[in-house]
């Protein structure tokens, strides 16, 4: 008998005579029932409260023009594999650990928690290593709850998903909050309405 079978045997023995308790059903945050705002409004509130920044654009053209101006302040950028060419900054590209700016596209977002859904197919290094991170997300992909967003995710899961809900932060030094410890210290969610 190997360790696997022994552990499973112990577990079966331990629970064999115990009353089996039922699954309580889908998690329901409830408080959202009172929130009649559009998902992007709650997303923006939650994301900002966690220290993130939110920009909202009517069209992808507007977003592209904003990015050109925004990226001018950066020496170099790293760009996710799924970022469309019109949303690429016009600054020299650098490898992710050297780039000053990271640009990604989120496959969705969660209003309930203020989270951007980042997919490994976009490339993880460009989501994690630059000090500033711009993430584009379509307004129609902002889901109301995490349960709903996870239900959508399960249809097509990559090797890893990152939910990014604000800048990298820590209070491990004397309980004082600092940003940008390992991940980006500045994160901007660029919401595109259509």
């Amino acid at each position: 008998m190997n360790s696997r079978n022994r552990i499973l045997g112990y577990v079966r023995g331990a629970t064999g005579s115990r009353r089996r308790l039922a699954h309580p059903g889908r998690f329901d945050g409830r408080y959202l029932l009172d929130d009649d705002r559009a998902p992007w409004e709650r997303f923006a509130e939650m994301f900002s409260a966690a220290g993130g920044e939110v920009e909202r654009f009517g069209t992808e053209d507007e977003a592209a023009r904003w990015l050109v101006r925004f990226a001018e302040g950066f020496e170099s950028a790293t760009v996710g594999a799924t970022v469309p060419s019109r949303l690429r900054p016009r600054v020299p590209l650098a490898c992710p650990d050297l780039a000053a700016l990271g640009v990604s596209v989120a496959t969705g977002a969660i209003a309930e928690t203020g989270s951007l859904v980042l997919d490994a197919r976009d490339g993880r290094r460009s989501q994690l290593l630059a000090p500033t991170h711009v993430v584009f997300v379509r307004e129609k992909d902002i889901h109301p709850t995490m349960v709903y967003a996870l239900g959508r995710l399960r249809r097509d899961l990559p090797s890893a998903v990152g939910l990014h809900s604000g800048p990298s932060k820590s209070a491990d030094i004397g309980q004082i909050l600092v940003r940008g410890v390992h991940g980006p210290g500045r994160i901007i969610a660029a919401v595109v309405a259509s």
Partner: protein, 479 residues
């Protein structure tokens, strides 16, 4: 060094910390209070009682169907390309990680914060194989540099002040002694970034594992866990067998409740949902992912009719933050990985009851921990349960046991009890001294109250009159 190496040193280490490190108590109490304030605020925004019921029921469901979910998770992980290992003991778990590292000729390991790796002593084990292990959570990194164990499940360095960190970084990296916290954090970022880029192996724990999709879920704020599980070519996740949830969607409730209870956030700023190794077409990610299911006392705890509910724990630390005993010393007094109330009821299962003494007694049974537990573990009742087991197993000091038996005998005989209480009253006792020297473990660290000059019943009579006393007596006689 003021930290205990084992629970048996609890009393001595507590005294040492309070006497020799007065700033530690200030730091721990302050940090614990502010964490508890944030939890309270975060709980007030939601229907917390309904959330706690849901989370309790979900974990109890998993624990009463654990074999089924372990098999389902294993099947799905293997389908996802993950290599699954099983470890019955801490030694086996360490050996699995070491063998993966040795096979791949790993020289350097970066670690995401993981209490399970603290529990099994992974770092020391890997170092015996000549492997360099770097903690990357800022708090874990600080205590690794200091050579200290974590003093809190969530905030491992919360016993250290800004000035402690300034001195440490000044000695190690030459930063100024008045450096701002941002400078210290930037220094750690620079040093650890090199480690991330050079490490061959990333080690993590798991907050949860969703059985139906084989998803390892990790919650954090710094990004070091995402980076540790994304950059090195191998990722090993150590997962306690109790960490399973049935479905991916169940993570929604567990992650949000854990974050609100641990740090008062709606969610950690980074959540990793890991399904397996890098797939074709993905730009980066590890080529190999291993999951090690660790038992180390958990299946035995599951078999315990009373204590199995302990396994619902999500390691949020809320019970530490509110505990008036933990707040005095921090975690270093407890002598093992998990401190505070939850540590005192986990220790008998993981270390053994004898090795855990006197942790189940390191509590005033005030009940605050039960009020803040997000998965409603009856911690005070379980503390009493382990105390009873300890007494039954003759693990309490012999003099104390004798004294308790003598007291029980006296308490059943009113005349003898009255005579004995008069005796104590008129004994020449030094004020504030040790009133009952037989109860050494109780009185060793406490001053004794002065005995009352009168018997309680006599005082009652004086206050309320004889009528009350006779009615009480009458009632007794009538029974």
């Amino acid at each position: 060094m003021s930290f205990a190496d084992s629970p048996s040193e609890y009393a001595a280490a507590s005294a040492r910390i309070l006497r020799d490190e007065p700033t530690m108590r200030t730091a721990v109490t302050g940090a614990a209070r502010s964490k508890d304030d944030r939890r309270r605020a975060a709980w007030s925004q939601i229907d917390i009682e309904a959330w706690r019921d849901w989370a309790r029921d979900l974990k109890s469901h998993v624990l009463t169907h654990l074999d089924r979910y372990l098999e389902e998770a294993e099947r799905r992980l293997i389908e996802n390309g993950v290599r699954v290992h099983w470890a019955e003991t801490a030694e086996q778990a360490c050996a699995v990680v070491a063998s993966v590292a040795v096979v791949h000729r790993v020289r350097r390991v970066v670690k995401a914060k993981s209490m399970l790796t603290e529990e099994i002593g992974l770092n020391a084990h890997l170092e015996t194989h000549g492997i360099e292990v770097r903690e990357t959570d800022l708090g874990e990194y600080i205590i690794q540099l200091l050579g200290e164990p974590p003093s809190h499940i969530v905030g491992p360095s919360l016993h250290r002040s800004l000035d402690d960190c300034r001195r440490l970084f000044h000695e190690r990296f030459g930063t100024p002694l008045d450096a701002a916290p941002e400078i210290l954090a930037a220094t750690a970022r620079r040093v650890l970034r090199d480690d991330f880029l050079q490490a061959d192996l990333g080690v993590s724990g798991a907050n949860f594992l969703a059985a139906d999709t084989g998803t390892v879920a990790l919650i954090e704020n710094e990004g070091n866990i995402r980076i540790s599980t994304s950059l090195p070519r191998i990722h090993v996740a150590l997962v306690g067998i109790e960490k399973l949830v049935p479905e991916l969607e169940d993570l929604a409730g567990m992650i949000q409740l854990t974050a609100r209870s641990a740090t008062g956030q709606p969610i950690g700023n980074y959540v990793s949902l890991i399904q397996g190794p890098r797939r074709p077409g993905e730009p980066d990610g590890p080529d190999e992912v291993h999951v090690v299911f660790v038992d180390n006392g958990r299946s035995a705890l599951l078999a315990d009719e009373h204590a199995w509910e302990t396994l619902r724990c999500v390691r949020c630390g809320a019970c530490l933050n509110i505990c008036p005993v933990y707040r005095q010393t921090g975690g270093h007094a407890y002598g093992w990985a998990y401190s505070g109330p939850i540590g005192a009821i986990l220790a008998p299962a993981i270390l053994g009851l004898e090795e855990s003494m006197p942790l189940p007694f390191a509590s005033s049974l005030c009940g605050a921990c039960a009020e803040v537990c997000p998965v409603r573990i009856p911690i005070p009742e379980l503390l009493v349960y382990w105390r009873e087991r300890a007494v039954a197993a003759d693990l309490t000091p012999p003099m104390e046991r004798l004294a308790m038996k003598a007291y029980a005998n006296l308490a059943e005989r009113p005349a003898a009890f009255g005579a004995a209480s008069d005796l104590v009253r008129f004994l020449p006792i030094v004020k504030g001294g040790r009133a009952l020297p037989v109860l050494g473990s109780w009185t060793g660290a406490r001053g004794a109250p002065e005995p009352s000059t009168e018997r309680f019943l006599r005082k009652w009579e004086q206050t309320y009159g004889a009528a009350h006393e006779s009615s009480v007596r009458g009632k007794e006689e009538g029974q």
